[in-house]
């Protein structure tokens, strides 16, 4: 399965979920296929999942989907255990596992060897974990996970990025701008209180 095929499947199923992506090419694929302003892009390796945990805990009324890669998740494996213990039912983790660090030349990741991310997720306590090796399995697992209403993890085994996949344009905004747009949209949808200049509570100044 190509990662772009898996992302396309996800894109067709995306509705009002908040989506966090890792720094890899998946961010550009998501932008190209299912962008909306509830998407935070290019989160540094190791941090998409813990940021998803915090966001899901803060906004239990809205589903949060983290799109990560094998290299990024391997940098922060402890977050699997934290996610399992906190068990936010509105959090989902989808890992596109291409068994390498694709961007910097394809150095093999640990999943090219003996590491098994699905087993690690289950052993961390995420019972609702699926391992998908083709498009049909991914489609089925994603359908089930989105309906289940509980913490889930999908490990999607994908091929290395093909040259045509690398032609997707870079994001047309920087990451600070992305954060502010994201917060504005959360505000517009009534999920957080108004995003405003300065301190979030009005200060009244009086003199004695």
């Amino acid at each position: 399965m190509k990662r772009s095929e898996a992302v396309n499947i996800f894109a067709k199923k995306r509705s009002d979920e908040i989506v966090l992506t890792n720094i890899a090419l998946v961010s550009r694929q998501v932008y190209a296929t299912c962008h909306n302003d509830l998407t935070l892009y290019r989160i540094q390796m190791g941090y998409p999942l813990p940021m998803g945990i915090g966001l899901a805990m803060a906004l239990p009324q809205r589903k949060v989907i983290v799109l990560d890669g094998d290299g990024s998740l391997l940098m922060g494996l402890g977050a699997l255990a934290t996610a399992a213990n906190e068990n936010p039912k509105n959090l989902g983790l989808i890992v596109f596992d291409n068994q390498c660090y694709d961007n910097p030349g394809g150095l093999p990741s640990a999943t090219a060897g003996k590491a098994d991310l699905a087993a690690l997720a289950r052993a961390s306590g995420i019972a609702n974990t699926a391992l998908c090796k083709n498009v049909e399995e991914f489609d089925r697992a994603l359908n089930q996970a989105l309906k289940a209403g509980e913490l889930f993890c999908i490990i999607a085994k994908v091929e290395r990025t093909a040259p045509e996949e690398e032609k997707i344009p870079t994001l047309p905004f920087d990451l600070t701008e992305n954060t502010y747009t994201f917060l504005r949209e959360l505000t517009n949808q009534g999920l957080i209180k108004g995003w405003r200049e300065g301190f979030s509570r009005p200060l009244r100044t009086t003199a004695k």
């Binding site: 935070l40 941090y47 966001l55 990451l175 209180k193």
Partner: protein, 181 residues
Amino acid sequence: MPEEKQRGVEMQYSMKNARTIVGALKAAGIDFVATLPDSFNTQVHKLIREDPDFTWVVATREDEAMAIAGGAFLGGKKPCVIMEASGYGNCAGYLARIAIVHHIPLLILSSHVPALGEMYYHHSETRYLAEPILKGCGIPYCTLMHIEDADTIIREAQLTVEGQKVPVAIMIPRHIYFEGR
């Protein structure tokens, strides 16, 4: 003088000071705490854990705690990370690449700080990384030397967090947490 006394093992946690710190966090609006085990903050942890006004998460690493807090901030919470200063060494990447670039702020309370009074060499070297990392990231920080200043410093720190959208660190030395020698 007995060695135990010299080494400070007669000291006791100051529950009064722990309550002051937690009260100052609440007064500043903090409602979400991500943390890690920390001998100095034991009583602060206990008070926060027992208080339903706080959402409480135990992370596996300091940078993971910061990322959880960052996510909580995006979701409208007012988060604080409570950790040992020895953990800043894990956090430089998060602070520079997420907190600064993505402009996602948080308040940090750290113990075992580069103030005087650290009794163990195995704590001392890692905590000396704290200030260079904070300086390198351009993150404001200060040391709480007197518990009487806790309300003011924590309130002003959180005003800075929310007003400037930057992380702010408050370092709390040993003598604030303990009574006696």
